[in-house]
């Protein structure tokens, strides 16, 4: 009796499965495990992950890694996915001239225009001139109210800007009511004597005047040329409950179009396209190009640097001089990225147009043999590189109950989306497409402005709920759940992720509906686009109608909504499509590892 292990090294996960060969030559599967890939796929650094996956698997059946008599590695496809993001526009403000602001409790309502007057210089105010008084947090609400009440007889005070969170407290103590904005942290940056407009929206509404270029023009008496330049300011104030706009004499705002650059396709039908044409046009160009040999970008532009960076990362993998490293596929996705406005007062951001790109990099061959030798040295076990990844995945996928040849598989991993079709006589056609789970995480991260990839990964993975009281919460599908034990107050009123072992709190104040929408859009943009692209490439006659069964495998097939999205999309083509269930027990994971062990039996017979 001998133990055979199959190991699949993926872009993000390394999977292992162990089977025992019975005396009759049949294979009996015993255990499997997976863990995150260490290092870039196809490098010697992978051995750590392989060893820990094997150890995990063997410990489940109470055995040691040394008991394995043969380890079979997949001949990993020499393709590696990478992602990058570039913004296409940029808002620049010289002599910073606005604060877009969203305090939770402003006070009063309406608009006000006046010269900025600091509270400690109130005595210099001239009767008759409208003023907006600014007060730092060193003044308490009682002091501010007292000073303003005293001055209101002699001065025309039209509005107040506070640094502390005390707008309501001040307003309740004012004799003459004016709109008040609070929680303006950088109050020291407000220039004295400059004309400013403030607006506080009515309850339940958002600012109307200051989010409208003509509104700003009306309040600050701008001419046509100046009105044009405040458009980005108005744009960035949409949806705020309160706002301040300053008119600085030399100030200017402009929206810069960055030199995005051209993408060159070296292909059957060589062509080029400018990045700022948008994702749709770029993807059309990719489709029109036919077989692509290499993709490059215009030197010294955003896209040029981006593609060079991806290639450079790969060249560290293949140390041979003049290594043949080529980008053979890209997936471009339109997105919006919140970018810090250069020159803004309080760290305001503006949603800028951006393109996210996943690229598929191809080298001649990954140094799999080196990994095998290192592993052999470390474990003292025989290690063999066996079988092409797609063939192994197909073999594994066939263990899903209810499948038969011909069969198409869609392997949705972290770095790439691969498709393969096995015909009845065992012939395999396959393709690798750029863009998968990691691009989805990147899109979620940028569109929600999280600045935290780990959080984005979790938003991708788990459904959402809003904790509405300490005893109940509303799921993202509208369902209500009640709990016996009160929920931890830390989660009260928050949007949380329902992870396996408890809640994960989302720190940023983003409505649940918005997160759901961004998450679903990101998944659809990447996986639906790629599923069609990939299957069209491998389908007989490049016609989807010639495919009858699709089995979804890989890490992203485990997702709670991607398989359903694809099923809906494929329904129109009469394709049976569903999440794989490898060996009837493993779900969509472990297809390649299973295939590797199975193929051992095939080789022996």
């Amino acid at each position: 009796m001998s133990y055979i292990a199959g190991v699949d090294i993926g872009n993000s996960t390394t999977e292992a499965c162990v089977g025992e060969v019975r005396s009759d030559g049949n294979i009996h599967f015993l255990t499997s495990a997976s863990c995150p890939t260490t290092g870039t796929k196809g490098t010697v650094a992978n051995t750590h992950a392989i060893k820990s996956a094997l150890k995990q698997a063997m410990s489940k059946i109470g055995r040691e890694v040394e008991d394995i008599s043969l380890i079979r590695l997949n001949e990993a496809a020499p393709v590696i996915g990478d992602t990058a993001m570039e913004t296409l526009t940029e808002t620049i403000i010289t002599d910073s001239s606005m604060i877009g602001h969203n305090p939770s409790t402003p006070a009063g309502a309406g608009q006000a225009v006046g010269e900025i007057l600091l509270i400690d210089k109130l005595s210099r105010g001239v009767p008759g001139t409208p003023y907006i008084v600014a007060s730092p947090s060193t003044y308490s609400y009682e002091e501010v109210a007292a000073i303003l009440n005293q001055a209101s007889d002699s001065l025309n005070i039209t509005g107040v800007i506070l640094q502390a969170d005390e707008a309501v407290l001040v307003e309740n103590r004012l004799r003459k009511k004016v709109p008040i904005i609070d929680e303006v942290s950088r109050i020291d940056k407000l220039p004295d004597g400059v004309l400013a407009a403030i607006e506080v929206a009515l309850p339940g509404q958002t600012v109307r005047m200051l989010s409208n270029p003509y509104g700003i023009a009306t309040l600050l008496h701008l001419d046509a040329e100046e009105t044009r330049t405040v458009t980005p300011i108005a744009k960035s104030l949409i949806g705020k409950r309160s706002a301040v706009v300053l008119k600085t004499p030399g100030g200017n705002v402009r929206e810069n179009i960055l030199p995005a650059g051209e993408i060159y396709f070296d292909a059957e039908n060589s062509s080029s396209i400018n990045l700022d044409e948008g994702a749709e046009k770029i993807m059309q160009a990719v489709a029109d190009a036919g077989n692509i040999y290499d993709i490059s970008g215009q030197p010294n532009t955003n896209v040029g640097n981006m593609l060079t960076r991806i290639k450079h990362g790969m060249s560290e993998l293949d140390q041979t001089p003049n290594a043949d490293i080529r980008i053979t596929d890209i997936l471009a996705v339109d997105t919006l990225a919140p970018v810090l406005i250069s020159g803004a007062l309080a760290g305001e951001t503006c949603l800028e147009k951006a393109v996210g790109i996943a690229a598929m990099v191809k080298t001649q061959k990954l140094p799999m043999q080196e990994i095998a030798e290192k592993l052999k040295l470390d474990l003292g076990t025989e290690v063999k590189v066996a079988g092409v990844e797609a063939v192994m995945a197909s073999l594994g996928a066939l263990t899903t109950p209810g499948t038969k040849l011909p069969l198409a598989i869609l392997d949705m991993g972290g770095g790439s989306t691969d498709a393969a079709v096995i015909s009845e006589d065992g012939k395999v056609t396959m393709t690798h497409q750029a863009g998968a789970g990691e691009l989805v995480s990147m899109l979620i991260e940028t569109e929600l402005g999280l600045g935290d990839r780990h959080m984005a990964e979790q938003i991708k993975k788990y459904p959402l709920a809003k904790v509405e009281s300490l005893f109940h919460m509303r799921m993202e599908n509208g369902q209500m759940t009640f709990v016996d034990e009160s929920i931890d107050p830390r989660f009260y009123g928050r949007v949380v992720l329902l992870a396996e072992n408890g809640f994960i709190r989302i720190e940023k104040d983003i409505p649940m509906e918005k997160i759901v929408q961004v998450r679903r859009d990101a998944k659809r943009k990447v996986f639906v686009t790629n599923a069609f692209r990939a299957l069209k490439k491998v389908a007989p006659g490049h016609d989807l109608k010639n495919i009858s069964n699709v089995v979804l495998v890989g890490g992203s097939a485990e997702d709670f909504e991607i398989p359903e999205m694809l099923m809906e999309e494929f329904a129109g083509y009469r394709i049976v499509c569903g999440r794989g269930n490898i060996r009837g027990t493993e779900g969509p994971r472990n297809a390649v590892a299973t295939g590797l062990v199975l193929s051992y039996a095939g080789e022996r017979s």
């Binding site: 409790t105 609400y141 407290l169």
Partner: protein, 109 residues
């Protein structure tokens, strides 16, 4: 007919004036009403629990000297949402604001 405003109840025993003032300011800034009532000697947790159960809004604060405690109806006695033995000015203001945010179903500060 006696009409009572829906308010947060603050039950106190010999409260520290400046702490109480900050707590009230926190509630006022969030725009919710409050009522203060002097009670018999008891722990802040005990007072808060009683206040939360008496308040129409289900949110109560207990105060004994400097010590403060925030409680919501339905939570067992002694398992206060938030509490401080000797709160600073910021903490008192925050506890007041949180008692109001509990009613508005907003995340705590």
């Amino acid at each position: 007919m006696i009409i009572k405003k829906p308010s947060i109840f603050i039950y106190t025993y010999q409260p520290d004036a400046s702490t109480l003032k900050e707590v009230c300011a926190g509630i006022e800034e969030e725009g919710v009403f409050y009522e203060i009532k002097e009670m018999e000697q008891a722990s802040p947790d005990e007072l808060a629990w009683t206040a939360a159960n008496d308040s129409m809004l289900g949110s109560g604060i207990g105060m004994n000297g400097c010590s403060i405690s925030l409680q919501m109806r339905g939570i067992p006695k002694g398992h206060s949402i938030e509490g401080y033995l000797e709160p600073g000015q910021e903490q008192s203001r925050k506890l007041g604001a949180n008692s109001a945010r509990a009613i508005k179903k907003l995340p705590f500060k």
